[in-house]
Every structure is written in structure tokens, then in C-alpha cells.
């Protein structure tokens, strides 16, 4: 089985919004600065008031790797899977680790590694594994 997110207090809202099909990023309720990963207070103004801003779900591939064995068994069973970092169109400093797939419920290795390009436009989709936590994934804007 693929690893499921080990959620902490600061990150919990991200996963709750993801379960509703929304990509939201924590921001400061006082100075409006976005921050990721989520944390208790704003590094710019030290406010503890937060809200979660909805993102468009669009972004670009900032970098990627194609992991090969030795791997955990569930990942070793998906040869040629990718891990990518996406910079969000709404906030390029906010970058999320994820997977590029052909569709929300497609396997992690559904995109051939030679289709991966830095700068490729992508959009968020949401995958809910059976009995698991919903995670954002990414598909190419122009497949």
C-alpha cells in the first residue's frame, strides 16, 4: 500500500479541504502572506490568526525525479513512477510535492517518464484511495 499522509495539527485543514476537492494554502489572516508548509504563526508578522486561501489549482512543474529501486515495496511495484514539485500559478513560491498522472485515479506510473518537462503547465486533480485520505495529484494541461 502507498503511504498515506501522516497529518499533524498544522496540516489538518489542507487535507480536509482536499477531501472536498479544494486546493487551499495557509495564509496569515492579518498580513495575508501565504506560507507552506503550514505552521502555527506568520513568519512575517508573527500573527497566530490564519485562514486558508483557495488556489486555482494551476501550476508548472518546477522539478521532478524518477525513483528506481531500492524502494518501499508498494512503490517498487510502480516502475517509472515520478515525483514532481509543482509551483503554483497563484503563488510561485508555494511549491507542492506530488505526482503527475494521466487522470485522478490513474496509477502513479501512468505518465511515461519522457513526458516530464520542467515548466510544463499542470492542474490539480484529487484522488481518494479506497478507505484512504484524499491527496492532490497533477495532470498535464496539454496532455
Amino acid at each position: 500500500m502507498l503511504l498515506t499522509p501522516v497529518v499533524d495539527d498544522d496540516g489538518a485543514p489542507f487535507w480536509e479541504y482536499a477531501a472536498r476537492g479544494e486546493l487551499r494554502v495557509q495564509s496569515c489572516a492579518d498580513c495575508d502572506e501565504l506560507r507552506f508548509p503550514p505552521r502555527p504563526c506568520c513568519p512575517h508578522c508573527q500573527s497566530f490568526a490564519t485562514h486558508w486561501q483557495k488556489m486555482s489549482g494551476r501550476g508548472r512543474i518546477w522539478s521532478y525525479v524518477v525513483p528506481h529501486p531500492p524502494l518501499l515495496p508498494a512503490y517498487a511495484d510502480l516502475p517509472g513512477y515520478n515525483a514532481i514539485v509543482v509551483e503554483l500559478a497563484d503563488a510561485p513560491r508555494i511549491r507542492l510535492v506530488g505526482n503527475l498522472v494521466t487522470a485522478a485515479d490513474a496509477p502513479l506510473n501512468s505518465v511515461a517518464p519522457d513526458r516530464l518537462r520542467i515548466g510544463a503547465p499542470v492542474k490539480a486533480v484529487f484522488h481518494t484511495p479506497p478507505g484512504g485520505l484524499t491527496v492532490p495529484r497533477w495532470v498535464l494541461e496539454r496532455p
Binding site: P37, S63, P67, Y75, A83, V97, N99, V135
Partner: protein
């Protein structure tokens, strides 16, 4: 202005065990062997040891170690976090303790059975919040994946190629081929071997990754005055620094304005500020090499070249003996042994004593660095 660390202390002894994929001795036994060897090298009795420093990841503790080797009353002990980022800081903490009179004879050590023992990333039960939530579920599982991500971006932004990474792997391997204690002593590396090697995490191949090693190392630190009475030429701690940059994320430094500058930049600013010389005066460097891309990043961070020039710096044999900056002259983590970078400290000492198996003629200054990509530390050593 209070006390300064500059040249106030010196490394008087170094010790190490054999390095291998599998050693019979326990980590505790290996630690004791390395420490006893380092004390013997210095000519200092174990009963005089009153300070210890190691890594938070070190599994042998001060209590057991002190008891086993027969240390005296211990008045300073410290452990530094962030894996290989802590290597140089163990010496720095001892230097600060000795320079301020908290202790007189310090031992820093690292003992690890990473060769025959488990791979830390395979343990899915112990997960820090960041990797556990934001990276692991997506299959970014191992340090090689995390650094591979930065390496790909670095290559994209600056035009670095696999040949540049090969230059790093080759320089380390060439030095290991001169060092009978190195795990890769009798195994030369060719460009063809490198370019056809299996991937670990594209863009990183097998030879971009450090070794998996059982082994232990230690060094003994005393005041500069005391060091002059010891068995070997003192190797002075000229400057020391730790580095945790603003908004840094260990290993997965993807979440700030400038992910391709890391802890090396922060440590370097403090290191050079305290020093009487600069990067152009460094005769030999021992730069943390868990992965080849850490070398171009560190060359930039420590000021040997400009931003984005680290890969090009490796061209033309620059890292070989006789080059602009001879690198990891015992073979480093890539080709001698990977013991969280402690062998880089002891190799720096050998160079400044003039006893390295790949001696840089007349070497009098050496930079030693800890892991880049995690909260780090660095030392400037001089003879």
C-alpha cells in the same frame, strides 16, 4: 568582544576503525576502538577526557562510552542534530567548551553500521511531520529522491550536466584508489561505468550516491597550548560555524524564495567572517559528499565560485591533485566511507599533518564541511 575560537584549540589526535560493508563489532565497540585510537594518537590518557560531542543520530551515548574507555569526570557533553549536518559542529562545540574553560580534553566521534544495518528511510513508523505529510505519500522516499529533485532543478537553471557530476565522483574515486583504507581502494571508475550505471533516482545514478559503510571515527580536541605538547603537529581550529538559513527546510528545501541556496551560504558567511584568510587561500577541501550535486552547491556556498558556477568549476581536473581545489583526498563519502562525514574531518587533519595518502604538497589550510541541504556546519583548519 569576548573570547574568540580562532586558533584557540587544536585537533591533537585522530582514530578510525576499518571501513567495510559489514563489520562484526557492535557500534559501541567500534566507537570505543576509534576513540581509544584517537587518544593514543594524541598521547593523552583516557582518564583526562572531560568532554564529549557527537550527533543526535549517534546510537552510542556519552555514559556508556565514557564508562567503557575510562574517561574521568565529564563536564561538557553535546549532541548536534540533522544527520551529516552535525559533523563539523561536534568539533565546534568542543572548541567552544575548551576555549571557554568548560573542559580540557574533548572527544568527538561517530560510529555507525549503515553498511550492514537498516536504511533509515525504510522505517515508515517514524515520520517527521514534513516528510510524513508533504513528500512521502508521493513516493519521495529517500534522501536520494529529495536531493535528486534539487539536482534536476540545478541542472535546468545552470546548464549543469551529468558530466559535471561525474567529475565529482571521479575525483573522489581517484583519491580512494590511493587510499588503502578506502572501501573503493581497488575499484577504479570510468566515464563509461558512470554513464551506464543503474539509476537510483533520475537524474542521480549509483555513482552519485555515497557508500553504505560500517565503521567509526573519532578525534581529540585540546587547547592550542596543550596540543603543542602532543605527539603530532597540531591542527588548529581556525574558524567554525553552523548554518540554518531563514526559511530553510532540511533535505526538502523547496519552500522558500531561493531553494538552490542552502545552509552552506549561511555557514560560510560566519566562517569567513571569523577567519584570517578566504576561499582563495584554501589549499585542500573536504566537502560533504553524500551525493555528487552537493559539491557544486557547496563550492558556490563557500565562495569558491559564483552562483551557478559550481558545476563548471569541476571542469579541467579542478578537483584532482594539482587542480584548483583538491577535493576529498581520502575518497570522501562517495568512495572512502560514509560515516556521516566524520572521515572528512580526519582527512583534513591528515592533510595538515602531511600524512594523507593523496598529499597536497605544502597544504597548510583546509576547509571541512558537513552536510549541505540540511542545517549544517563547517571548519577551517590550519597547521
Amino acid at each position: 568582544m569576548g573570547a574568540t575560537l580562532k586558533d584557540a584549540t587544536a585537533i591533537a589526535g585522530i582514530g578510525q576503525t576499518p571501513f567495510a560493508k559489514r563489520l562484526q563489532d557492535s557500534e559501541k565497540t567500534l566507537a570505543c576502538r576509534a576513540i581509544v585510537a584517537a587518544l593514543d594518537d594524541a598521547g593523552i590518557a583516557a582518564s583526562e577526557v572531560d568532554a564529549f560531542a557527537s550527533y543526535t543520530m549517534e546510537e552510542t551515548d556519552e555514559v556508556e562510552t565514557a564508562k567503557a574507555i575510562g574517561a574521568g569526570d565529564v563536564t561538557f557533553f553535546s549532541k548536534v542534530g540533522y544527520g551529516g549536518g552535525g559533523s563539523c559542529a561536534t568539533v565546534a562545540h568542543l572548541a567552544a567548551a575548551i576555549a571557554t574553560g568548560q573542559a580540557h580534553v574533548g572527544v568527538a566521534w561517530r560510529s555507525r553500521k549503515r553498511g550492514s544495518g537498516p536504511r533509515p528511510w525504510k522505517n515508515t513508523q517514524v515520520q517527521l511531520p514534513t516528510p510524513g505529510q508533504w513528500t512521502r505519500p508521493f513516493g519521495l522516499l529517500r534522501p536520494a529522491d529529495e536531493i535528486g529533485m534539487l539536482a534536476r532543478r540545478y541542472m535546468h537553471e545552470y546548464g549543469a550536466t551529468r558530466d559535471h557530476l561525474f567529475n565529482v565522483a571521479l575525483a573522489c574515486r581517484n583519491r580512494a584508489n590511493q587510499n588503502p583504507a578506502a572501501m573503493m581502494y581497488d575499484r577504479p571508475l570510468t566515464r563509461e561505468m558512470y554513464m551506464t550505471a543503474r539509476w537510483i533516482s533520475e537524474p542521480l545514478c549509483l555513482f552519485d550516491n555515497c557508500l553504505e559503510t560500517d565503521g567509526a571515527l573519532a578525534c581529540v580536541l585540546v587547547s592550542a597550548e596543550r596540543a603543542r605538547d602532543c605527539r603530532h603537529r597540531p591542527v588548529y581550529v581556525h574558524s567554525a560555524a553552523q548554518g540554518l538559513p531563514a526559511q530553510h527546510h532540511g533535505m526538502v528545501n523547496y519552500w522558500n524564495d531561493d531553494p538552490l541556496t542552502g545552509p552552506a551560504w549561511t555557514a560560510a558567511r560566519q566562517l569567513w567572517k571569523q577567519a584570517d584568510f578566504g576561499p582563495q587561500d584554501v589549499h585542500v577541501a573536504q566537502i560533504y559528499d553524500a551525493f555528487t550535486p552537493l559539491i557544486p552547491l557547496s563550492l558556490e556556498g563557500y565562495g569558491f565560485c559564483g552562483r551557478g558556477e559550481g558545476a563548471a568549476f569541476t571542469e579541467g581536473g579542478a578537483l584532482e591533485i594539482g587542480g584548483r581545489l583538491p577535493l576529498n583526498t581520502g575518497g570522501g563519502g562517495l568512495s572512502e566511507a560514509y560515516v556521516h562525514g566524520f572521515n572528512l574531518i580526519t582527512e583534513g587533519v591528515k592533510q595538515l599533518r602531511g600524512t594523507s595518502t593523496a598529499q597536497v604538497p605544502g597544504a597548510a589550510t583546509c576547509l571541512v564541511t558537513a552536510g549541505e541541504g540540511v542545517p549544517t556546519s563547517a571548519l577551517l583548519l590550519r597547521s
